[in-house]
């Protein structure tokens, strides 16, 4: 079970990051969940400064950039 977390305040780029992840999950038929973190305090706790940021299984993979599908596949 893979756990993706998407950090962002709900702007267009954060939604794009979430969609890319969901598409990859569908394409690869992964067993995974996607959690959206919109709370500013939790972002700060986790050290996220630039949004959108994505963590996979608790490890921060990208900050301040929308990952494309190839990036996401590369982490798995």
């Amino acid at each position: 079970m893979e756990k993706f977390e998407v950090f962002g305040s709900g702007c267009a780029n954060c939604k794009k990051a979430e969609n890319n992840i969901k598409e990859v999950i569908e394409e690869l038929d992964l067993e995974a969940e996607v959690i959206k973190v919109e709370d500013m305090n939790e972002m700060a706790e986790r050290g996220v400064m630039l949004t959108p940021a994505v963590a996979l299984n608790g490890e921060m993979k990208v900050t301040g950039k929308v990952p494309d599908k190839e990036d996401i596949k590369g982490w798995l």
């Binding site: 950090f7 962002g8 305040s9 709900g10 702007c11 267009a12 780029n13 954060c14 500013m40 305090n41 972002m43 700060a44 706790e45 986790r46 050290g47 996220v48 400064m49 630039l50 949004t51 940021a53 921060m60 993979k61 990208v62 900050t63 301040g64 950039k65």
Partner: protein, 390 residues
């Protein structure tokens, strides 16, 4: 949408259609005016100012290492470095207004503390590169420059005051590190990057060069050669892109330029329509709001006018860049230059919705002090500017 919601929406639309005063001459004029204003923006500002500006914003988002900037917000960074970086880095970090609040929360909770965090919060939205370019273009370079300088200076002042007032609990904050993504290494030297940025900025400057008031002299000379120079610069840019950038980088650049344009332009145009309807183009009194209202409240350069403008700016929400057409309309109806600057400084930094987020990060007391400081500083800088330019 639930049925009940849909029904109330239908009823609202119906009532609006039923009662809208289409026949009223004043209403018709205001409606017409909003489209005149939109046309003016489309003709004057889109092609040679906004489009190059979006390309610049896209280039900054892609080719400037934001991680390199963020490390100066860490808890180990020297204080004066944090303050200086916090007050100017909005140019690079705040191109999209939704990035400001997470950065603020991060600097406050894990990094350099409340001073640099509030400094960034104040100046960030005001000095993003799109805002500065469009302010200078539409409202005049003096106001554009005053906005940039005012935002930077008062950001430091506000930050230092905040950190003095709350120095006690700044010590008890947790320290931590930031999650930094890997920096893409690119194949260009620093000099090549600088040359590339200089080329696009020059393209913007020349393409947007306005016709000067006199027919002779240096400014007119520049105006006469602006198209050949722009063409040469475009060819130069093409060569740079071809030899220094990979295909993917160029694609990323165009993509993020497109994203900015797509996010910002519809809201800006909606803002222009609203501003046109309410206030009309400068020099006309065709808008719905009478000029006497505006000049009573924010005309001249009294302290009260500046204060009113900062309070208005602090509570109102402006989507990115929409403060500019609104202000253009207000100034056309007699708003003073000082109050205009006050509104520009207090406006993008604060709004009712983002006050709530700020409060959830640093609590009610600090938020109130911050709002108070922003209003006072915006009032003062408006007052000083208004006194200087008249």
């Amino acid at each position: 949408m639930s049925k009940l919601k849909k029904l109330s929406l239908y009823i609202a639309v119906f009532l609006a259609a039923f009662y809208i005063p289409i026949g009223n001459a004043k209403f018709q004029q205001a409606l017409l005016e909003s489209f005149y204003m939109l046309k003016e923006y489309a003709q004057e500002h889109v092609l040679f100012c906004l489009i190059p500006a979006f390309f610049i914003a896209g280039a900054i988002a892609n080719f400037v290492s934001q991680n390199a900037v963020i490390k100066y917000f860490g808890s180990e960074a020297k204080k004066w470095v944090s303050y200086s970086v916090a007050s100017v880095s909005g140019t690079i970090l705040a191109v999209c207004s939704c990035t400001v609040l997470p950065l603020f929360a991060g600097i406050y909770k894990r990094g350099a503390g409340i001073g640099p965090a509030t400094a960034f919060l104040y100046s960030g939205p005001a000095i993003n590169v799109l805002a500065i370019i469009l302010t200078a273009r539409v409202l005049g370079w003096q106001l554009g420059l005053a906005r940039a300088i005012g935002a930077v200076i008062f950001a430091v002042v506000i930050g230092v005051i905040m950190s003095i007032i709350f120095r006690k609990d700044d010590k008890e904050r947790q320290k931590g590190s930031f999650a930094l993504g890997e920096d893409d290494t690119d194949g260009r030297s620093g000099l090549q990057n600088i040359m590339y940025f200089a080329t696009i900025v020059l393209i913007l400057i020349f393409a947007a060069w306005a016709k000067p008031s006199s027919d002779t002299g240096f400014w007119m000379f520049i105006h006469n050669i602006k198209w050949p120079v722009t063409l040469v610069l475009l060819i130069l840019l093409g060569l740079q892109l071809k030899s220094w950038f990979s295909k993917n980088e160029i694609k990323d650049w165009v993509d993020s330029t497109w994203d900015f344009a797509q996010q910002i332009l519809p809201l800006l145009f909606a803002g222009v329509l609203v501003a046109g309807f309410l206030m009309g183009r400068p020099g006309t009194e065709a808008g719905i709001i009478p000029a006497s209202w505006i000049s009573n409240f924010v005309g001249g350069n009294s302290l009260l006018a500046n204060f009113t403008a900062s309070i208005l700016g602090a509570f109102m929400y402006f989507a990115t860049l929409t403060e500019i057409p609104i202000l253009q309309g207000l100034m056309g109806l007699g708003m003073g230059k000082g109050p205009a600057l006050a509104l520009l400084l207090a406006g993008p930094a604060l709004s009712l919705p983002n006050m709530l987020v700020i409060r959830s990060v640093m609590g009610t007391k600090k938020t109130l002090v911050f709002i108070g400081l922003v209003v006072v500083m915006a009032t003062l800088s408006g007052f000083i500017y208004g006194t200087l330019v008249i």
